[in-house]
Symmetry: C2
Subunit: 419 residues, 2 copies
């Protein structure tokens, strides 16, 4: 296959897999990067596609474009179907790929915790199709509501449930509010804005658990100021597409639910025959290697490394990126006969935005909120967004929205006919 001493196969072109590949660009290895999509997705801005602020093409970048300069790499568009650990063979939808070293980095998926009706009727928010489906659906609810003669049905069409008070849920609820109250009111003049409800349901007693209490309170207050009803201790037990049922028996008439209350390892890793934790993550050594298979590394949302303090790692981009960098270094160390190093997570802090001029930020012990935190959020997301053109387009879209109170991507697409 190559003149290199080692064939490294990386599965997944998300934050983790991409970092492994790029960190190995000068290593004496040949890399095959496998993904079932031909693009890297900047997931942190997915909720902005769902709320018509950005187009799908703004936050996706072809893998081949990102890694074009890297001569020791081949990209392969294929879906992982299994791994033959004994034969050192990755099985894919387009054939087998032998490996000397395998890195699994396929990422997470929405976790409905076995509640199948939720999976059928609620929207997840993990990939571009999810985001465009939410955008289509939300806009379609307004098209229906303005011509709905029954007032009760009209209100249910305009009730938007977001489940889960993590960053995705908070950012999504805030963005819903701004899309509706700053933009759509101008499109739907016959609409009574009082009929619109956005409800954030959180099962515990706090949102944004990774933030200190003071910032959590700021976030909740900001959400209320944006007319988002924040409900704590509210566990969802069912949703049939028209009515949400809570654990306490309460029901809310609503035609839209975004489920941001759980993530698990992609279910394709369930077939690999490796011990997993309750979120489906493969239990790996502190070096991120699979026990008994030192040539197989598992990183990101599908990895559950043994850690000293027993605390599970958050399923966020930063963990995947740091694990990707360590894995690349460990592959090089192993080639040189050195022993691999253990992973330890350096938390760079947390950022979440609730809308224009409003964000919360924690960096080490420093806390920021309001306009300055929002500027930090902007800067960090623009810097980490891959591709100069994407950065430029996202920046222009944001500036457009900011100054004109307009979200230009209000298109109902994908066989975009009315159902």
């Amino acid at each position: 296959m190559s003149g290199y001493p080692s064939n490294v196969v990386v599965v997944g072109a998300g934050f983790g897999g991409l970092r492994v590949a790029s960190s190995l660009r000068k290593a004496a290895v040949h890399i095959t990067l496998v993904d079932r999509r031909n693009y890297h997705l900047f997931q942190p801005l997915l909720y902005q596609v769902a709320t018509a602020g950005l187009g799908p093409t703004d936050i996706a970048q072809p893998v081949r474009a990102i890694l074009r300069e890297q001569r020791n790499l081949d990209f392969r568009l294929a879906e992982m179907t299994g791994v033959d650990f004994a034969a050192k063979m990755l099985k894919t939808s387009t054939g087998n790929i032998p490996y000397d070293v395998l890195v699994l980095a396929v990422g997470g998926e929405t976790n409905y915790f076995g509640m199948t009706t939720l999976g059928e009727h609620a929207f997840g928010l993990k990939d571009l199709d999810d985001a465009v489906r939410i955008r289509n659906h939300l806009l379609y609810m307004f098209e229906r509501a303005v011509h709905e003669p029954d007032a009760e049905i009209g209100k249910a069409l305009l009730t938007f449930i977001v489940v889960g008070g993590g960053p995705t849920g908070v950012e999504c609820a805030g963005a819903f509010s701004e899309l509706i109250r700053l933009v759509l009111v101008k499109d739907y003049l016959g609409l009574n804005i009082k009929d619109v409800r956005i409800i954030l349901l959180e099962a515990t007693d706090k949102v944004l658990p990774m933030f200190p209490e003071k910032l959590r309170d700021v976030a909740v207050k900001t959400l209320w100021q944006k007319f988002v009803e924040v409900r704590f201790g509210a566990s969802v037990s069912g949703f049939d597409g028209k009515v949400v049922t809570l654990n306490n028996g309460e029901t809310i008439a609503a035609h839209t639910m975004v489920w941001a209350a759980g993530v698990r390892a992609k279910s394709c890793v369930d077939q690999l025959g490796q011990p997993q934790d309750r979120l489906g993550r493969i239990k790996v050594l502190p070096t991120l290697q699979v026990p008994n298979h030192p040539e197989v590394y598992v990183i990101g949302d599908i990895a559950c490394p043994e850690t000293g303090d027993g605390m599970p790692l958050p399923m966020v981009a930063q963990v995947a990126i740091q694990q990707g960098a360590l894995t690349a270094a460990n592959i090089v160390r192993t080639l040189k006969g050195e022993s691999p190093k253990e992973f330890s997570y350096k938390d760079p802090g947390s950022l979440a935005t609730i809308g224009r001029n409003a964000a919360v930020a924690r960096i080490g012990r420093l806390q920021f909120r309001g306009f300055f935190a929002w500027l930090m959020w902007l800067a960090v997301h623009i810097v980490f967004l891959i591709g100069f053109r994407n950065r430029l387009f996202v920046l222009i879209n944001w500036a457009w929205d900011y100054f004109f109170y307009d979200r230009p991507i209000r298109l109902i697409m994908h066989d975009g006919n009315c159902p």
Copy 2:
């Protein structure tokens, strides 16, 4: 429904319907604009979405955003299912809409002339879904070809057939060539560019029939310079997804066919019970009114007005726009008791681009080609593109492509998994 003396219902938010609606903004009428999509599509640039130069959101604009300022207009997202001419009632997927005046402007669709296997395997190029499907498919062919062990299959994967030498076919073939030869060659380093074939099949003896002979020759020469094989007198009789069959029995192994060889009136007008021409267009009076139903106007791709010279009108945006303007004027004249005027088409000329720095243009008796014609093409398309933001984004995308030889939208999307 309104305090206005007349209810005008316009079906279709394409070039024609939009012009009717906007031209009536100061008239004493209430307008209901009905479309099955919530956006206006700038069709002339659709082939650029198909060839990864522009994103779908760049050439679509929400109808509500375009007509937001117009107070005498309601938009309704609905699909026309029929017309009760006697009761003056438009039937739609979301209920009946009564009218005093009805304007039908639903546009055209791909015409396979009854060849059903073509409809199943070839791609039309009439809406955004078509364009994204072509983009997905073309990129996927390259992903397959680079790992295809069988050389013959590999060549078939890289053979792209465009059928029809009108502006769409010529522009599409030229854009395919530039996408592949200027951009994708950098993505697929293992690819032998000599295996790539782009074949433009034209049944008659000329491309771009609306241009004078000299410009037609320039267009053909330019296509050949871009390695597009132009074949005249080549009628397609079948395509099964792998092999194209011509009328003379010849076969070409190819996995991709874009069918740009025919347009007809949208088939939903077949149920209206009105006399149609061979392209499904409703035969209307020179005033664009339906015979015996002076309150119903038919315009654009679905209209076949009686003309003095008996020449059918081309199915292009300019005809629809001019007919839309006349119809709005006729509606106002009729309200004032005046008689409606007859339509006569003022041909503004023709423009077609074959790629960077290459276009042909005819304005009256003036003929242009090469770089200057290409600049004219750029200017005209930017000026007519609706929405300042869309203009800006299209311009940036074009500049990016022009200077960096890069088409950034190379994403395989819509459930974008490999099949």
